[in-house]
Symmetry: C2
Subunit: 316 residues, 2 copies
């Protein structure tokens, strides 16, 4: 399969326009002072279903033909993609089947059920996930929508950076988190086409640095036993996302959990918004200062805001 191109992002923009939120770009005097840069936060924590994932999910769902749509959609996810796909399917009025590990948090299961999807439980390991998904697809004939290694998903995620650059041109950098690479590859696709002088930097948890090692070794290194507070960034790159990231991303910088948590708390305290660790890592990258960036205009993509308020990292 060929990776998507920027036209796919433009198509996605038109397709999902009626359904998504145009999320705000916020600034913070005090975070500018602390980091010595001018920061522009693209607030996908305010996106529907609480994360950028709704962009890719709705682009996928509304790309289906009538015949495909009738069959419904299926995925395996315990996170934001599950909620996003369930909501997109609900809006189109088609079934959604979500395979979730049976030890998933109740709040996450309830959210998916709340959007009207059917939840099928599996054992908490990759083999059981894939096997269960295969069964569901065989039984229902639903269309599998991969959380990130899917051209419609990647193109949809690229619309966040497009909105950001339309709102705030002439950025020196855009920092995006990387897990499976859907957001990062979509972002890089957009940036390379609309803003020549903007560098794309990825923020990856130190304890889940498979993307960094993949770039270094020029082949996809699987994420094995990742260990980080950023629970949205545990997965390995996919073939499609890896191709784009190799071509268009300047650098992948790892961030330690200490700085992820510090950044998360700073964003809550200073900006008064709720973001999840996987979002805060972008600011964490600047705080940890493994690379020197000063006096630059920097866009940071805050990917989502779905957190368990009973278990905040600074209370653990």
């Amino acid at each position: 399969m060929k990776s998507p191109n920027f036209n796919d992002v433009l198509d996605a923009k038109l397709r999902i326009e009626p359904y998504i939120h145009h999320t705000p770009v916020l600034t913070s005097r005090s975070l500018n002072e602390i980091t010595g840069n001018e920061l522009f936060f693209k607030c996908e924590n305010f996106q529907r279903a609480g994360a950028f994932k709704f962009r890719g999910a709705s682009n996928s769902v509304f790309s289906l033909t009538e015949a495909e749509a009738k069959r419904g959609v299926a995925t395996h996810s315990s996170g934001n993609h599950a909620q996003a796909l369930a909501l997109a399917a609900k809006i189109r009025g088609i079934p959604a089947y979500v395979v979730m590990p049976k030890n998933s948090k109740k709040v996450k299961i309830d959210a998916v059920l709340g959007y009207g999807a059917e939840v099928i439980f599996c054992e908490p390991n990759l083999a059981s996930r894939e096997e269960t998904l295969d069964k569901v697809v065989q039984q229902t004939n639903a269309v599998f929508i991969h959380p990130y290694n899917n051209n419609f998903v990647i193109a949809g995620q690229g619309t966040a950076a497009l909105e950001l650059l339309n709102h705030t041109p002439e950025l020196d950098y855009i920092i995006a988190p990387v897990g499976g690479g859907g957001l990062l590859s979509g972002t890089s696709l957009t940036v390379r086409s609309v803003s020549d002088n903007t560098k794309v930097i990825a923020a990856e948890p130190e304890g889940a640095d498979d993307a960094k090692r993949s770039l270094q070794s020029n082949q996809i290194v699987p994420s094995i036993n990742p260990n980080t507070i950023a629970d949205g960034l545990l997965t390995s790159l996919g073939t499609l996302t890896f191709e784009l990231i190799k071509k268009y991303v300047q650098d992948i910088i790892t961030v330690s959990d200490v700085y992820i948590i510090r950044a998360m708390r700073l964003i809550w305290e200073r900006m008064k918004i709720v973001v999840e660790p996987s979002s805060a890592i972008t600011l964490g990258l600047l705080l940890e200062k493994k690379i020197e960036i000063k006096n630059k205009r920097i866009g940071l993509i805050l990917s989502g805001g779905n957190v368990d308020l009973d278990h905040l990292p600074w209370n653990m």
Copy 2:
């Protein structure tokens, strides 16, 4: 002293325009569904220094003559007014003296110090507060800016409702919290002058219901041993705020802490914004349903977002 009028609010608007944030008005599909109304949240948690208090404080500070300003400003407050006044004074480049109880939280003291104010500690009781403030004013000749019983403060707070109604006309209700009554009286002043059909309803903690009892008995009932999670709403009404509230406020409804906390958590989870209990009480009023309001357009003033992230009410 005569209470302020709507012209004072318009003057305040012009005066503080260069310094304040025009805070956004946010909406939430899921909170609309839960309450059965159309809600518009005026997000003063995004105001500078984290609360609407900066409106009144900056209106006071920038109303001073050059001669007065040189003397500096003083107040007693352990809360948002202290930070707001410190910031306003810093912007004008004049001294600020803040009397705080010596058992104030370190995070609050640090915030006031961070804005360059001088902090003078007192015993944690009203007599010591007032005595210490008197001494400070005698020694420094600074101008005392009362947290709410001050015409410039009241007029400044009234600008939040003005922005809200400019952005979102034809509201059936505006709900504002009431503590000392600065925000509530300023809001009511604005609403009565620009939006005939909008009712102003106050939300007051059940465990600090002195304002409700003041209205009932037609005299200011002092707040004695208040007990509520809404730590910004502990104070008694002032003479100026009471006059306006008597004239212009339709009703004061008490809200139990259970519903304040429930509302706070809902706002964090669904809207992905950080608000303090004293803000969340406005939504709590609708959740608790002591009065029946359905299918209405309702503005809710979210007063601030300064919370101690180490001590969230649902973790206590």
